[in-house]
């Protein structure tokens, strides 16, 4: 291994610069979130939050907590519904291989390609009739459509890798398929459940199009709308807008730190076959 040659360290330097450039907008968001109103239009802009203020974060606590709570509930609901729908389907497609299974996988692949705006318009019409417009369950249902096809494909790919002997052993021990699924397949599939939950949560947390079309007029609005209204009503207080943006990014940051390998697994699983 050539890990500690001078050449490799030189590359680390370049890598640090590139990463710095790439992440600069993120740094700038954090910097602005601590900047005082009177310094906001300073020229040249302050590169560091000298005379930093917590006003922005105080505003978040005052005004954005209900939005954050809604997003959290919607995220949890989306994760639960996505896993409940997709895990059994993945198992069936991977191990029971029913006739019509490939066709279903095909439909799932196509479903991922439907632009959100089209779904939003269809949902709006349906939700109006059903009376679930501007409700949490309505938004959860809509947000699961972002994750379910992807989740089934991930589960199918992962569960195909479970050795058949393991499942046969369960059957020999007298377990039915339901029991096998619940006590053998699900526990072994923990990694894929983590990956799917992570993405389902992140996608519903960042969803803007369903939030703005299906929940825009209700009492329960997610954080994406909180930020959006903030920009609309109040484009003076950029520290508060950016503080909200920072807080809204925390789930992504936490998930990236805690579940790095699941993240790359998820990004590649949809696109590349082994």
């Amino acid at each position: 291994m050539t890990t500690s040659t001078p050449r490799a360290w030189w590359k680390t330097g370049v890598g640090l610069v590139l990463t710095g450039l790439m992440l600069f907008p993120v740094y700038w968001m954090i910097n602005v979130s601590f900047t005082r109103d009177q310094d906001m239009r300073a020229s040249p802009p302050h590169l560091f939050p000298t005379n930093g203020t917590l006003d922005g974060y105080r505003a978040v606590l005052d005004q954005q907590l209900p939005y954050l709570g809604t997003s959290f509930l919607v995220g949890l609901g989306t994760v639960a519904l996505t896993v409940a729908l997709a895990a059994p389907a993945g198992y069936a497609l991977a191990k029971l291989r029913p006739p019509g299974g490939p066709a279903l996988s095909f439909v799932l692949l196509i479903a991922q390609m439907i632009p959100g705006i089209i779904m939003a318009m269809g949902f709006y019409a349906i939700f109006l009739t059903l009376g679930v417009l501007n409700t949490l369950p309505g938004l959860i249902l809509a947000d699961t459509t972002l994750a379910v096809p992807f989740a089934v494909l991930i589960f199918t790919a992962f569960m195909s890798g479970i050795p058949d002997e393991l499942l046969q052993a369960a059957v020999v021990d007298g377990a039915g398929q339901l029991r096998t699924f619940w006590s053998v397949v699900l526990p072994v599939s923990r990694n894929s459940i983590v990956t799917v939950s992570l993405f389902a949560f992140l996608w519903s947390w960042s969803d803007f199009i369903f939030a703005s079309t299906l929940a825009g007029g209700g009492d329960h609005q997610p954080i994406t709308l909180g930020i959006y209204h903030y920009i609309g009503n109040n484009n003076q207080q950029w520290n508060a807008i950016m503080a909200t943006a920072v807080v809204a990014s925390i789930p992504a940051a936490v998930l990236l730190i805690l579940a790095q390998r699941y993240v790359s697994m998820g990004v590649t699983a949809g696109a590349v076959k082994d």
């Binding site: 890990t3 279903l104 632009p115 939003a120 079309t213």
Partner: protein, 323 residues
Amino acid sequence: MPSTTETSTAVRDQGGAANAAPSGPPPSRARRPNRWLAWGFLAPVTIYLVAFYAYPLYRNVELSLREYTVRSFVQGGAPFAGLDNYRTVLTDPAFGPTLTHTVVFTAASLAFQFTIGMALALFFYNHFPLSRTLRALFLVPWLLPLIVSASTWSWLLNSDSGLVNSALGVVGIDPVNWLTSPGWSLTSVIIANIWIGIPFNLVVLYSGLQAIPTEMYEASALDGATGWQRFWGITFPLLRPVSLITLLLGLIYTLKVFDIIWIMTKGGPTSSSATLATWSYRLGFGNLLPEFGPGAAIGNLLIVLALVAGLVYIRIERRQQLR
């Protein structure tokens, strides 16, 4: 699910029979309960697909074929209009420019995301201290909520006090009205979209690089190939399948992009950065008087574009699996 206990017993029987006596019941008879059992596991997702994909799509087609007003949207009874909405949209003077914006937005985003992603993937492929951590950090822009990225870029590109303009000022370039001039708005949203798309290209191309056997490089090193020759002779051809899929997925995602443009410019000023997706949203939800019919018609045109890209994707994916 009332039938599960019944079917699972059947499966247990089948398993037992298969183990005890190979000459047991013929496979066709034994397999039938298993088939229904599999569809028991698939039933929730199937019902879900019909209710939450097929039905909204059907509703959308219906919307595009009728003359809806706010009143008829709530109460029903919108008259059938045939292809009128499509005619309205296609003959709208905004149609040509919007289609052009969509094509330019997609093509420019893909070209830059892909080349930058490829360069970064090649760079990170040479493992060096901290390379794993830095590569993980590159994922951040992709994981951030789009509204966060879009508002951050709005502030960076702000005409009066944005950092980009002050940086340009340092080198003596006059401030640019990135988001508020028709000449620059499309460029601005493309820049933000490229930034967001780089991580995806990096990760997928990087995993493609890892699949290339190292022996190929060792052999070419023995032949005295330069780095550039190695790239065009080995890496690029072997990476072609992964590249194609990255580009096609990128195409499908980019056609859908709505949040970034809407949050940064609302498609303006005077629809200079409008794409099919933002136009459709504006007609359906962005006005006080919604025009659901034409909005849905644009949506359906968009879906045709996405599906064509999707079918090409599936064809290529299939062909690669056959190899």
